[in-house]
């Protein structure tokens, strides 16, 4: 039964070319290759930053030098040693005067966005999405600002927030992911170029989904975004992050840091679709995605929900986490990680229960095809004070083909007797029965697989905002094309 379909298609090389692989040629304002204190000073000066931030960066840089031999090796990923001196750390699109409207944006940039299908103009109005598009490292267009400012919502590039809202940045920057947190976060703290800043004031429900598209453009430029989102008491915000990147032969490093802070009764929903260039079917090229994402539920009844669809990057190293400090706070992690060809993904979450009656839920779906390796790595930790804590974790892995690997490495540490922690994991292939059922009804092997995989991922897909859910479902199919039976 299934053997027929398998023999038909397994082994057939991937034919779907990376759709978004093009390079826009614009004049980069690039820092010299390599990383030393002067690079850090260059970036800070470019951004016209206040002295406190320069000092913060320099402190981070010195700590990073001390960590030289602490590049994490525990993840189940393999890559040649990165030469941090063989990379550019700053690359900005040509500096513009202050932009008042989209007309002032470099037409080449707009063209890029159009190719990517970002609904920046009318489409954006229709979609009701405010886009703070990051082109390389500098945010060049921010829209819907007026609508947001009416509600007191601050949504701007973090470099702008440093100038206009230094008190907020100073208070929260590095408060969730400390400078010394890990090798990549420390590096980011020293050389971060730009990213988004969101502040939602007390009692405000953000009137629209906030969204940022990141793109990596100049060759060999590591991207070091820094995102900071603060939801004040009783507020709500949903933030979408989507990523595409052009085709490159050289591996590119991406080490972002995202910090979320939810105060009393606040809720942050953070959704990601990541489809950066994964390398070709022989494992050449592709992005190294080494990201530190963490949210702090500081207030009572606060909630942070991470949803991610990871289909791109040659290597993904990413653990969006929640520190559940406030009593009755809630953390959620919904993840789909699809790896094909020679992709490697080591991803998961940490749920740290500190407050009373804190709850967390982890749903992870890993799909491996081709020669790919996919690992779920997660931690559920219940501290002694977290009376009544509750966690449910479900990690399912699907293997497509016999050359791939799927691994599950959960850590469960419980120090409170009233905590209820449940973990379950399964690994299997697509059931022959399901495949047969679909084939009998005339679906091709590939369509049947896409359908079944989408069903496998349903619990996560339904957590995505509408705009993303559609794109994500398509991505599931595209990511698996040529590798499935």
């Amino acid at each position: 039964m299934a053997n027929i379909s398998e023999s038909e298609t397994i082994g057939a090389a991937t034919t779907e070319r990376y759709k978004y692989g093009f390079v826009t040629d614009i004049e980069s304002d690039t820092a010299p290759k390599g990383l030393d204190e002067s690079t850090v000073r260059f970036i800070s000066a470019k951004k016209d930053e206040p002295d406190w931030l320069l000092q913060w960066r320099l402190k981070a840089f010195r700590q990073w030098l001390d960590k030289a031999d602490e590049e994490p090796t525990w993840a189940k990923v393999n890559y040649p040693k990165i030469d941090y001196q063989d990379s550019y750390y700053y690359s900005a699109p040509k500096q513009q005067e202050t932009l008042n409207s989209l007309d002032e944006v470099d037409p080449k940039l707009l063209e890029t966005y159009n190719k990517l299908g970002i609904p920046l103009q009318e489409q954006m109005m229709l979609a009701g999405v405010a886009v703070d598009a990051v082109f390389d490292s500098v945010s060049v267009a921010t829209t819907f600002k007026e609508e947001l400012s009416k509600h007191g919502v601050i949504f701007c590039p973090i470099s702008e927030a440093v100038q206009k809202h230094p008190e907020l940045v100073k208070k929260y920057l590095g408060s969730v992911v400390p400078v010394a947190d890990n090798f990549f976060a420390t590096l980011n703290s020293a050389v971060f170029t730009d990213g988004s800043f969101v502040y939602v004031p007390e009692g405000v429900r953000c009137p629209m989904e906030l969204s940022t598209y990141f793109r990596i453009n100049a060759a060999q430029t590591g991207q070091f975004e820094r995102t900071l989102i603060i939801a004040d008491k009783g507020s709500y915000v949903s933030y979408l992050e989507g990523c595409t990147a052009p085709m490159r032969d050289e591996h590119q490093l991406h080490a972002a840091v995202v910090e979320l802070i939810a105060l009393d009764d606040a809720e942050i929903k953070y959704s990601t679709v990541q489809n950066w260039y994964p390398g070709d079917e022989n494992g050449k090229g592709g992005i190294y995605n080494f990201v530190t994402k963490r949210g702090a539920c500081r207030g009572r009844n606060s909630k942070i929900s991470w949803t991610q669809v990871e289909t791109g990057s040659a290597i993904t190293w990413k653990y969006p986490s929640c520190i559940l400090q406030g009593d009755n706070s809630v953390g959620e992690f919904y993840s789909i990680a699809i790896t094909n060809n020679f992709q490697q993904a080591d991803t998961g979450t940490k749920m740290i229960h500190m407050g009373k009656d804190t709850k967390s839920r982890i749903i992870s779906k890993g799909i491996s095809a081709g020669h790919a390796e996919s690992t779920y790595r997660g931690l559920v930790k219940v501290m002694p004070g977290a009376t009544g804590a509750r966690n449910f974790t479900q990690c399912d892995s699907l293997l497509i083909g016999e050359k791939c690997g799927a691994h599950t490495v959960p850590y469960i540490e419980v120090r409170n007797k009233t905590a209820q922690v449940e973990h379950e994991a399964t690994t299997s292939k697509i059931s022959d029965d399901q495949l047969l059922y679909c084939r009998q009804r005339g679906l091709s092997a590939e369509d049947a697989t896409t359908l079944i995989v989408n069903g496998f991922c349903r619990q996560v897909l339904q957590e995505l905002p509408m705009e993303f859910a559609v794109e994500a479902q398509k991505l599931v199919g595209i990511s698996l094309e040529g590798s499935v039976g």
């Binding site: 002694p384 497509i400 016999e402 959960p410 419980v414 007797k417 379950e424 399964t426 690994t427 299997s428």
Partner: protein, 439 residues
């Protein structure tokens, strides 16, 4: 000094040259070489620190700072009296006390033809070639400092050899007794079970002792085609003891290993089991319960390596942690590239009875074949409030109701035991432990 090692310079290490003369196999050159090699490896590796991933939750620093000497003399009369009645129902018994066979308490007669049971010291003479091969095999394994130390100071353990087709009906009773009453001692028993095609046996191991001591047993078990082994272990070490045991099991096709561990004793205990399944239709089923209180630390670490397809494994562990006890469960199932049609299941449930108790669980799957059914589950928590209410609503007081529920929780693990007599034996041990808890 690497941060991945804990420096340890035990007094018994210095006695290596003198001690060798008194250890099994003193006149055998290859064994002396293996011992020296083990010592060199230990000097290099030392004890693993918590920076070594598989030791993340178990800290050996207290062990490293205890002045363990080599055992000197027999066990005390009181301990001897406790050992005497253990498992006397069974006709075949081997007692090893302070690293040496205790002939007066042992009874090695009455075994059927093709079944050979003896202490290591005897086996080195009677089965030299077999022992040489297996000792070399264990030395070549990718092991830690503890394995190296056992190779260097290897003491009497039991050697059980079954010829092809040999079946032994009566349960083989093995007792390890350690007496650290007159100062801390270190013991390094080495056990070996070699099973021919289609052979079958049942072994019960009991570990007891007094005072401060460190038991570091290594067991190698090699199962031939279609061999069947039931192996039950009762770990009742003294409350001041360290018990760090490792089992290395290899299964040929059709072999069936059934193991059960009851872990009650020791201040710090770790049972590590590595099983390699090399053939189809082999099954590796282990289960156990760890019941800990006070400041006890109990660690169960398993690795089931499905190197061949069409095999199955099953692991079920239930732990109850009272007072400031800490339980650790690390279970890994690996399925290699071509091990298709593997069926692997693993479950760890832990019950915390106190605010200071802790459980750390790390169930792990590493899968490289697609046509497999692998799953694991881990839960921790308090007793089910609804069940408690149900019992209370029927007039049962809280303490009794709790005890009933804890008992039911643990006994679900005992259901994994295949054998009436053995189940009954563990049930008594569990009940005794439960009587000492206030629910």
């Amino acid at each position: 000094m690497s941060i991945r090692r804990i420096a340890a310079d035990f007094p018994f290490l210095a006695t290596f040259d003198a001690a060798r003369a008194g250890l099994p196999g003193a006149p055998i050159d290859w064994l002396q070489a293996a011992r020296r090699d083990g010592l060199v490896r230990f000097r290099d590796q030392s004890l693993p620190s918590r920076r070594v991933e598989s030791w993340k939750y178990t800290d050996l620093r207290d062990l490293a700072t205890t002045d363990f000497a080599a055992p000197d003399g027999p066990i005390g009369a009181a301990l001897r009296e406790r050992v005497a009645p253990i498992g006397t129902r069974n006709s075949v018994r081997l007692v090893i006390a302070n690293g040496r066979i205790e002939p007066d308490l042992s009874r090695l007669t009455g075994l059927p033809a093709g079944v050979h049971l003896m202490p290591m010291s005897v086996a080195l003479d009677s089965h030299t070639d077999l022992l040489k091969a297996h000792i070399a095999r264990v030395s070549a394994l990718d092991g830690d400092g503890l394995l190296a130390l056992n190779a260097a100071f290897m003491m009497d353990g039991y050697v059980l050899v079954l010829d092809d087709g040999a079946q032994v009906a009566p349960t083989i009773e093995i007792v390890f007794a350690a007496d650290g009453g007159s100062g801390p001692i270190a013991l390094h028993p080495r056990n070996l079970i070699v099973m021919g095609q289609g052979s079958a046996a049942t072994v019960v191991e009991t570990h007891v002792g007094d005072g401060v001591y460190w038991s570091n047993p290594v067991s190698e078990i090699v199962m031939g085609q279609g061999a069947s082994l039931r192996r039950y272990k009762v770990q009742q070490e003294s409350a001041a003891a360290f018990h760090l045991a490792q089992d290395r099991v290899a299964l040929a096709s059709g072999a069936h290993y059934r193991g059960f561990l009851g872990a009650f004793g020791a201040r710090l205990a770790r049972q590590s089991v590595t099983a390699t399944i090399n053939g189809a239709d082999a099954a590796f089923d282990v289960a156990g319960t760890y019941l800990l209180r006070d400041n006890q630390h109990g660690d169960i670490t398993t690795l089931v390596d499905h190197a061949a397809g069409g095999s199955s494994s099953r692991q079920v562990y239930k732990g109850v942690l009272d007072d400031a006890a800490r339980g650790v469960f690390q279970g890994k199932v690996a399925v290699r590239r071509d091990a298709q049609k593997t069926d692997a299941h693993q479950l760890n449930n832990a019950l915390l009875l106190s605010d200071k108790a802790e459980i750390d669980a790390k169930p792990e799957l590493e899968i490289y074949a697609d046509d497999v059914k692998c799953s694991h589950g881990a839960t921790t928590g308090d007793l089910d409030a609804d069940a408690l209410f149900y019992l209370q609503a029927r007039g049962i007081d809280t303490a009794t109701a709790r005890r009933l529920l804890v008992s039911a929780f643990v006994k679900a693990a005992l259901d994994e035991i295949d054998g009436e007599a053995e189940r009954a034996r563990f049930e008594v041990l569990v009940d005794t432990w439960l009587a000492g808890t206030d629910g």
